[in-house]
């Protein structure tokens, strides 16, 4: 059986598929980094942002931080099981990670619904523009990650393409790292 180029070619010492994921993450650093740096500059130059940030719900933000940290543990467990050739177990851990993603999105949806109904919409001022852009971009990554995880879990269940479990795990941890910085910036610095 022929093997895909993503797992067989490793001129750099890393399988090409994994190298591609690292490249994606390097570009993501520039995307999220640029956005967070822009927010930070405005936050430091505009003291009124502190007053606007007082309206964000710290308890829900903190709950989401805990949910993502826990889902990261599930992702690393999925990788561990895949490494030992236990595809079905890896798939189950991936499903639990997706459960974490859905919990995160439900909490975020509830939070946004509450904020929008209070009148804090994206066009209200620069703070809320940053808030919805940064949290929204992050939520898009959560949705994308969850969909990819479901696809990978389908193959993993049949003990196929187990190397992909590690790749989606790396991506998922990055999504967690981004939230680790978004949480204090948007919810704590008031």
């Amino acid at each position: 059986m022929s093997r895909p180029i993503a797992t067989t070619r490793s001129v750099t010492g890393i399988a090409t598929g994994k190298l591609a994921v690292w490249w994606v993450l390097a570009s993501e650093i520039v995307i999220f980094g640029g956005l967070l740096c822009s927010y930070l500059m405005h936050r430091l130059g505009h003291p009124e942002f502190g007053g606007y940030a007082a309206h964000t719900n710290t308890a829900l933000g903190a709950t989401n931080t805990f949910v993502l940290l826990t889902s990261s543990l599930f992702a690393v467990r999925a990788h561990f099981e895949a490494e030992h050739g236990r595809g079905k177990s890896a798939a189950n851990w991936l499903y639990m990670t997706v459960g974490g993603a859905l919990t995160f999105l439900c909490i975020k949806g509830y939070e946004w619904h509450h904020e929008i109904s209070e009148g804090f919409v994206i066009s209200k001022n620069a703070f809320w523009s940053f808030y919805y852009t940064a949290a929204g971009l992050h939520a898009c990554h959560v949705i994308g990650g969850a969909i990819i995880m479901l696809i990978i879990a389908q193959d993993a269940k049949k003990n196929q393409e187990l190397q992909r479990v590690e790749l989606i795990g790396i991506y998922w941890h990055f999504v967690d790292v981004v939230w680790i910085f978004l949480f204090p910036l948007l919810y704590i610095a008031k």
């Binding site: 690292w22 650093i29 822009s38 710290t58 940290l69 826990t70 990261s72 543990l73 204090p184 704590i188």
Partner: protein, 143 residues
């Protein structure tokens, strides 16, 4: 596989899992500290430094732990770290190049009138809301 090798393999697996759980517990403890720091500052000591250290200092430690132990960057090829570091350097270059124009509203030969006025009016409005909290209820909907 011999019994000894199988036992060794099981030990190895258990050690790996225990390591992941240890990192996870550390992350949860750090998360609790990062949340409690601002709470303590708000209600007891009123220290901005405490908020900065507990919220942002601990965020850096948490990010390091996730990157090193969950993403396995501690055992990954060095050039991956160089690649990611290059992206981070570009991010800091962007910050260093642009921040003086954004963080300051006035320079030697320039003035950002719009930003200065926006800040002044917003701070005034926030002070009024703080002084008369009941009066502005529902005003958000009207805006």
């Amino acid at each position: 596989m011999s019994d000894a090798a199988a036992t060794h393999g099981e030990h190895d697996e258990a050690a790996h899992l225990a390591h992941y759980m240890k990192i996870y517990r550390t992350l949860v403890v750090l998360f609790l500290v990062s949340v409690s720091g601002p709470f303590i500052s708000d209600h007891f000591v009123h220290s901005k430094a405490l908020v900065l250290v507990t919220a942002f200092g601990i965020a850096l430690v948490k990010a390091y732990l996730v990157c090193a132990h969950f993403m396995h960057l501690n055992v990954e090829k060095k050039f991956v770290i160089y690649m990611l570091t290059t992206a981070l350097v570009f991010m800091f270059l962007f910050f260093a190049g642009v921040s003086p124009d954004i963080m300051e509203h006035r320079g030697r030969n320039w003035e950002n009138v719009a930003a200065r006025e926006e800040t002044a009016s917003a701070l005034k409005e926030q002070a009024e809301r703080a002084a008369h909290p009941g009066e502005h209820e529902g005003a958000e909907h009207a805006e």
